[in-house]
Amino acid sequence: MSAAHSHERSGTLIESHRGYDPRLWVFYGLAVVLLCTLGGGLFYQQLMRADLHREKETVQSQRRIVVPGPRGNLYDRDGRLLVGNRPRFAATLHLDELRADFRREFLRIRRNYREADDQNIPSSAELERIARVSIVKGHLATINRILGTKYTVNSDTLERHYRQQRILPYLLLEDIPPADYAKLLEQLPVTSPLQLYTSSLRDYPHITLAAHTLGYVAADDDVVVDETLPGAELRTFKMRGTVGRQGLEAALDARLQGQSGGAIYRVDPAGYRLQPPLEQRRPVQGADVVTSLDLDLQLAAERTMTEIGLAGAAVALDVATGEVLVLASKPDYDLNAFTPRLSAAVNADIQTRGAWMNRATQGLYPPGSTFKILTAIAGLRAGQIRPDSSVECTGAYQVGGRVFVCNNHRDRGTITFPMALEKSCNTFFYEYGLKTGIDALAAEARRFGLDRPTGIGLPYEASRMFVPDPAWKLARRDEKWFPGDTANVSIGQGDLALTPLQMACFIASFARGETLTPPTLLHDSARPRLHTPEIGLTLAGRAAMLAGMEAVSQTGTGRILQTPSYRVPGLRIAGKTGTAQKRTPEGTLNFAWFIGFAPAENPQIAIAVMMEGDTPGEDTGGGRYAAPVAGAIFKAWAAKTGFIGTTPPTPSVTP
């Protein structure tokens, strides 16, 4: 009985430990589900999201430093350097190599406070800041000892750098002269945290030469990072670069910009970089550009403009290709003053002198008598002017109720067409301008592209030029067009406003017997000769014009070109002077013009010069103030090309 009883109990116990209790399956199931969840989560996180975690780890622990590439150089058409780069030496301090020093200095300062039982002990953060300044001061003292200088640490700059950019070297001293650089190079230990850093600075060896054309650069904190540079996803610190702001520096910025280089560093949790870099790539200099400018001609033009001492502009073009040989504007500025940054004083000085404007491409001026060439073309093409046309000049010409004067010459009586050009006779052009009509004049001007920008590619080229006609006057001023307006336009006065570059293109086109000259500042030795629509003058018409224009430089208003200073034996120059007036509140200002080309028999170089009169009421004539600049350019061109005249110059016009 008891045995049976014990068996029964025993069986119950065994049964209870066999695990067959169905309730346990619930826990087993739960455990399996939890384990599966855990395993699945692990699988998901470790395998499926491995890339994401790797990326996060990378982003958190790596930093990228981008160093801009130096800009490309600009050369003149003969390969002479116009704009380059010069090294800029600086002393930098790698803060990451000073961590232990910072810590030791912090402990020392804190100990001193405690030993002195000073109740006003600064906070830990403040003590750390003091320690950093103290250590950096010590390194600067080393430099001061070597150079015999007394530089001081700017604690605010240091702290800002430490907080925001501690991965980058701290700039301790910049623009170190080569002699001091040599001393530091020799006397600073190779392994010092103090290192010499070299960056590039834009260098303009000719200082003010072609200042507006070459342009300048400004500091750029947002350097364009080369797409092929790895680490785009990383937090990136950029060293300061430059960006073109004016002239060719701005127009060709994309080509001149160098390819940025850089390095990727692993950083510790405090943000200090760990050496060596994981990846490093040196920056590459931007592409060099050969401009069409001719250094010798540009120098000759600017030297003469400076001697004259007036504001103005000079443009010279290669007649066959439209390449710009000279593009000068005065007053100008020292391009080196823009790097590393333009000071407020220099900025104010440029502003005061009115030197910001590129008068060659941005200045809109009435063309004065130089426009008579276009009036002549329009008259010839309209059949109103013939090579043998003439007028009786009395010095006054009545249009409606208004008397227009001709004070450009003293020859009263019959004035032939070539003589009208030579003497710049207003009466002739009043007469034939009115006969030709404003519509034909305006159409001719538009045919030569004088109503639109030349498209030279320089920034801020004037775009508000216009050729006035009845429709324009009605739309602009709601006024009727009068014959007097036509008379004014015929001699390049009134509302007409053009840039010197436009006039240079115009005269270059005329020299080729064509209507358009798209100018370019890029040199291409294989550039083909331009071919644009022909003017459509008869041979006799063109010959009469050339005779008159050649006489301008021989015996006419531009005869200064025959003085010893500017005369080139055998060089036949066809040109036209002009003196335009502009009314200002202070009085009437004159603008002196000269446009022309040479050699007259085989045009190769075309020039337009405009000089602004600076004194109201003063006679600033084109022959006296503008022609000399053109003469200097012609002379430099002849000397450079070894021009030897084959045809002796002879006055072509007789009264």
């Binding site: 080569p178 190079l185 020799e186 190779v190 070299t198 040196r282 590459v284």
Partner: protein, 282 residues
Amino acid sequence: MRFDQARPFFTLGVILLAWLLLPAVVKRFVRLSFYELKAPVDIAASYAGDLQDFWSQKTRTNNELISAARDLAAINASYELRIREDNRLRTEISRLEELLRLPSYGEFRSEPARVVRRDFNAWWQRIIIRKGRNHGILAGSPVIYSGGLAGRVVEVHATTSVVELISSPGLRLAAVFDGDDRPVSFQGGVNPPLRPAQGLLEFVPLDLFATAASPRALVTSGLGGVFPPGLTVGQVVQLDASTDGLFKTGRVQIDDRLGRLTEVTVLVPLDPSVVTPADAAP
């Protein structure tokens, strides 16, 4: 029993631990003391080497010695001539400096010194010379040899000094191309021992050229304030434009004789401040 077996390791561990825990000042003192203690051994070995050379010379025949003496006399004569020429040039330079009111370079006192041995601690790019503090040697002094600039004194002990050779990456100086006046950076390269040494050039202006076929001499600039001008550093045998377009980098072949120096001259400045800036001798 098992402790007895481990006792040497235990003792070593205790010594190492004690060394680690010693204050830095004590460690430095011990190191310097050991160096000074060991210095006579090095010097004795150097003298023994000289004696060995002496006895090896004794084995030469009279004819050989007479011939060597004649050669030596010829060399001495040429040196006499050079000294006279140098004196003339020195006078001329002083006259011109006075005329142009130029500052005079620091004056140096020559201190010839025998080379004890090359220091393998610095991958053989340092030498130990047999002159030290007792002979007035100053840390930072330039050291020259027959081939030009040898290096710079970096450590001075009582009877010996350590010279960092120009072939060491730890030495950097402002040099110029012979005939040019623009400073370039010269630094010793990573040179394996017992091979012709080379140096690296940086910040070379783009208009300077040199190739192995047409090398150019590199000399000290005198601008750095440590080395007098005109001492030959080596021959520039390669120049490559760097990608940034600002400068060229290059390679300098250093005279082979630098690898077998036996005698050098220390140029000790009469004005110690010329060569003892804060970090002259790290």
